[in-house]
């Protein structure tokens, strides 16, 4: 039985209604100001510093446990790890041998088409903090923020491929929205034949979807999807996932395609923030938009400016328009 002490016998809370209305108006004002006008960036950055100790306090026991487990690893385990890493490094180096030459060749060919898609030229590694910020959204907090130059809309990779993009930047931390978030969409390309489309998240970390492909589209299970670089938010050519299942129902006009993400969304500990080289024009500007009256001016012809690449429906819509302008309709 819960016994409340009756310390307030008068039972009066003066002006409860008035204060409630005031606080609610304040909260509503905050919602509108935050949503509609982007004025609260500074306030939010300050508040995120205040929240930082709580975040660290929650995450540090887990980090401490990891550190402890690492420091009591046996010599044999370390040697096994080292052997495995050396083998991986050797394999990676073999693959890299021709990379420089291929990269240069690709740049030359792209320059011929005046189509220099964004090239990643700077990386910063961030650690994912062990926090669970929302059970219903696929987001993580990473320990790099505005102080390290992270910006909203920035692409985030892990060792396997595209991880997500920065949704919000604090002073010391930033929030990354995963490619699998239900509100996230990313312009992709089938590596085998160059077919361009959009991969959207499902809210399930093990699955993305390609909802805008017709039943006749040339896509089969096992196809590698890479970023197309359209929209300018992501660097081109990084793996997003592999097609897992293609279901074609003759009664439907669109195919139902499941994609397995390339990044280890549920296991990654470290991610990389990527800076795309300056001067790279959005690839859409040079796409063969023959029938479009705006084809003359690149600025009007590129529908998705890189700055507007905020995650969510806006980005999805922008990316959709981008693909619509550039992609050969299947």
């Amino acid at each position: 039985m819960v016994a409340f002490r009756n310390t307030d016998p008068s039972g009066r809370t003066t002006g409860l209604l008035l204060r409630c209305v005031l606080y609610c108006l304040l909260a509503l004002g905050l919602i509108v100001a935050d949503k509609r006008y982007d004025h609260l960036g500074q306030i939010r950055r300050f508040l995120s510093i205040v929240a930082y100790p709580v975040q660290v306090a929650v995450a540090s026991p887990f980090a401490g446990w990891d550190w402890f487990r690492e420091s009591v690893t046996t010599r044999d385990a370390l040697r096994a790890d080292k052997a495995q890493l050396e083998a991986e490094l050797r394999l990676a180096n073999f693959r890299l041998q021709r990379y420089e030459a291929l990269e240069a060749e690709s740049q030359r060919l792209r320059a011929l088409r005046d189509n220099t898609a964004g090239i990643a030229n700077r990386f910063v590694i961030g650690n994912i903090m062990n926090l669970d910020i929302d059970a219903f959204r696929e987001r993580v907090v990473v320990d790099k923020g505005a102080r390290d130059g992270v910006y909203v809309g920035q692409a985030v990779l892990d060792a396997g491929g595209i991880f997500g993009q920065v949704a919000r930047v604090g002073e010391l931390t930033s929030e990354v929205i995963l490619v699998s978030d239900a509100a996230h969409a990313i312009p992709v390309q089938v590596n085998r034949n160059g077919l361009r489309t959009i991969a959207v998240g499902t809210g399930d970390m093990a699955k993305l979807k390609l909802p805008y492909l017709s039943t006749s589209a040339d896509v089969v299970a096992g196809d590698l999807l890479v970023t197309s670089g359209l929209g300018g938010g992501f660097p081109a050519g990084y793996p997003v996932g592999t097609v897992a299942v293609v279901r074609r129902d003759p009664a439907q006009s669109l195919a139902d395609v499941d994609v397995r993400p390339a990044a280890a969304l549920d296991r990654a500990r470290e991610v990389m923030f990527v800076w795309i080289s300056e001067g790279a024009k959005p690839a859409v500007a040079a796409a063969p938009a023959a029938g479009s009256p705006a084809a003359g001016s690149p600025a009007a012809g590129s529908p998705a400016a890189p700055k507007s690449a905020s995650p969510g429906p806006a980005a999805a819509a922008a990316a959709k328009r981008g693909a619509g302008a550039g992609a050969p309709r299947p």
């Binding site: 039985m1 819960v2 016994a3 409340f4 002490r5 009756n6 310390t7 307030d8 039972g11 809370t13 409860l16 209604l17 204060r19 409630c20 606080y23 609610c24 304040l26 909260a27 509503l28 004002g29 905050l30 919602i31 100001a33 935050d34 949503k35 609260l40 306030i43 939010r44 508040l47 995120s48 205040v50 929240a51 709580v54 975040q55 306090a57 929650v58 887990f62 062990n130 926090l131 669970d132 910020i133 929302d134 059970a135 219903f136 959204r137 987001r139 907090v141 949704a167 919000r168 929030e175 239900a182 509100a183 809210g203 549920d266 969510g312 429906p313």
Partner: protein, 158 residues
């Protein structure tokens, strides 16, 4: 009365801080949706127990902290928590004489209202979360309310 209020502020702030940490502590994905809103329950407890010491400011501040730490639009949790805490304060004299079952049911109703306002703001700002499992939290919250309220009252009566 003033001195009594000031004495209460410490356990109030401490319990709110601990509850805030519980809101983001990582859980296995399987039981993540079952995580009760501890901070909301704590705010309800103080709204009922001593509305004059913390009252709506506590609710507003806790809501704002949730907004920042969850990374949602600023003011969402603050709005929901303020409204429901005001309602809890309004009901507190009745709540104090209720049986445990009635208290739990009332808290369940308050939590559902809280969740509904969150749901509404989510939709209004353009990123709706329509999974059914978001309505589990109020049920869990109503179930653990007797434990939490009992624990908190023992804590600050010492």
């Amino acid at each position: 009365m003033m001195r009594d209020d000031r004495v209460r502020r410490l356990p109030m702030a401490l319990s709110a801080l601990v509850a805030l940490a519980f809101a983001v502590i990582p859980l296995p994905t399987a039981i993540d949706a079952f995580r009760p809103d501890f901070l909301v329950l704590v705010v309800f407890y103080w709204s009922i127990e001593s509305p004059r010491a913390g009252g709506l400011f506590l609710a507003f501040a806790a809501g704002l902290a949730l907004d920042v730490i969850r990374g949602v639009v600023l003011g969402q949790h603050a709005l929901a928590l303020t409204l429901m805490a005001a309602w809890a304060t309004h009901l507190r004299l009745r709540l104090r004489v209720f049986s445990v079952l009635s208290q739990s049911l009332t808290i369940f109703a308050l939590l559902t209202g809280y969740q509904f306002i969150l749901f509404w703001v989510d939709g209004a700002t353009g990123n709706p979360v329509t999974t059914f499992s978001r309505w589990l939290a109020p049920i869990i919250g109503g179930l653990i309310w007797p434990l939490l309220a009992g624990g908190l009252s023992r804590l600050h009566e010492r």
